[in-house]
Amino acid sequence: MQGQADGPRRAAESDSDKGRRGRQGAAGQGRHDFFGEFGGRYVAEVLRSPLDELEIAFDEAISDSAFQRELDGVLRDYVGRPTPLIAADRISDQIGGARIYVKQEGLAATGAHKVNNAVGQALLARRMGKSRIIAETGAGQHGVAVAAVCARLGLACDVYMGELDMRRQKPNVFWMERYGARVLPVAGGSATLKDAVNEALRDWSASFEDTHYLLGSVLGPSPFPDMVREFQAVIGRETQAQCAERGIEPAALLACVGGGSNAIGFFSPYLENEGTRLIGVEAGGRGTDPGEHAARMRGLGRPGIVHGYKSLFLLDEDGQVLPTHSVSAGLDYPGIGPQLAHLGRTGRVEFRRATDQEALEALDYFARTEGLLFALESAHGAAAAPAVAMEYSNDQAIVLNMSGRGDKDLFIGARELDREGWKRFLKEEYESL
């Protein structure tokens, strides 16, 4: 523990220490990379040495003030941090209850929180002497962030993406290629995000000498869950500072949860602050049958080991990974980060679900009423905000993380919200080519 010094960096160090100490207390000796029963490093032997190397390099970098200065500089000048915190006054006036504030993380460069982690890991990779970056992407937001950051740092970049996702997220494929990345289609399995992770792990097991695997969420084998959380904790630290400036002590924080990187980054500085409720919102999709949603908490997920870590996953009774569904490709992943699974078990983080329809309605509502365009993923968090706000009085506040902005969802949003107009437009566009 670094003591109670001022400034975000000191806060980061003490958060990290608290995290580790808490976990050891819960899980005992020799399990430093577990959160309760979840986490760990369940990998084939060939990946052990690159993970050891990465863990050491991360621990060194995070306590090196030169690295921190470099990271802060890129976050400020390229990413555009700090991202603003804004009061959603019109919505608060309409629904009553606690005042709703929105952390506009989607205003970060490339449109989502993903860039925080991409910058952190890419700088780390360069420091480790790696010349090539590989990444997985589902919706494409992580891929776009990684491709852009690699372009800035002069690193070669290959992004694995399921063929199905490439079709669904064509604009992001286009932008990744503009940033100079190669987008490598993955045809195996369900041809979605989980299969892109498999393929990236396969690549890395043959290429780690000159290649860093820039994993995009708080999951996978250790040290990824710790490392990605630390690079995303800037969201929560800024929120704390911005709330303090306004004299707010939030009663609750709300975030959508796919793998969970925006949520844990947002929640992380508040974990020990029991006065603030932490609420994660999962993708309720079209229903609770297998294949119709991507919600792992509240009884739908089973303990399992996939992608090198133990957590709650959507599995059949033989442990085979089930298909998932969400209108938002970024929440469409069968597992949840191990720390969030643990915090769900202990009750520190509450989990709710929002359906596809509820997310689309929330997107529309916040756009019309506040001029805020949520990404479909983040709109799941927004969907839960009114009900949570109404549990409190108007002298209290809740903060909602808009982890991404919605421009990227033009194709899906238009198909769902303005089908006929969109069809006409596409037809005219096609004919004009």
Binding site: G30, R31, F34, G40, R41, Y42, V43, A44, E45, V46, R48, S49, G188, G189, K194, D195, N198, L201, R202, S205, A206, S207, F208, R302, P303, G304, I305, V306, H307, G308, K310, L315, E317, D318, G319, Q320, V321
Partner: protein, 281 residues
Amino acid sequence: MSAIGPAGRASLMAHLVAYYPDRESSFHTALGLVDAGVDFLEIQFPFSDPTADGPAIQEACATALETGFTMAGGFQLVGELAQRTDRPIMLMSYAGPVFARGVARFVSEAAERGVAGLIVPDLPLDPQYNEGLFEAARGAGIEAVPVVVAGAPEERVRLVLEWEARYVYVALRRGTTGDQTTLTPEAVAFLDRIRSAGVYTFAGFGVSSREQVEQLGAHADSVVVGSAFVRTVHARKEYGPAQVRNGVYHLAAELVGGPRGPASRNGRRRRGRSRSGLGRL
């Protein structure tokens, strides 16, 4: 099981995926391999997300799941095979299905069905990550086989030796199954060192010819051939179980050096192999 393979030459472990391309074909594949003279059968229970496998085995696992593989069905298949052959059966799978079954239950079912050993690459020997697999296997009188990578740091080797593993699986290179690799002088030295500690060594990754079997066999107790058999099954799967069996039979017979002759022939073959062992594997 103390004398595995004809005296004086390396044995061969052939890998197949249970239920690939369907239950019946995989049953006949296994029997074809045994008839051709392979010494071990390594039967993979498919997992939806096999991250240590290359394209051939990945696709085989996906097909096997589509054609109805279940853990219960897999154990049934293995039990039937164990009654048809005295070749040791090694069961390979991933942490996902093993953990879902319950490690203790998985191990006891394997032992009951006559399995000799378990290979679960993402449950390493480290106590915090193996979910009790190694202890449970030993308790059930079978062996969980740890994996080491050729050239691994000394502490990884020591972990295996201190466990007094009966078998060890040496992964000769980086990457996933099915990739080609080269047997470097460093890998040879590593294999010789593990073997000199008295551990029975399996070595593989990318072996598909008799020449490679001979080269690697000079430095390992048993040579593992996986993707080459899976590719053969793939090429013939449209023609039915008999053709699949014939395909793997002929490949296996070629790899073991023709139908198994008397030990003296094998002795000559061994002398002929006493070169550097360098070459593509």
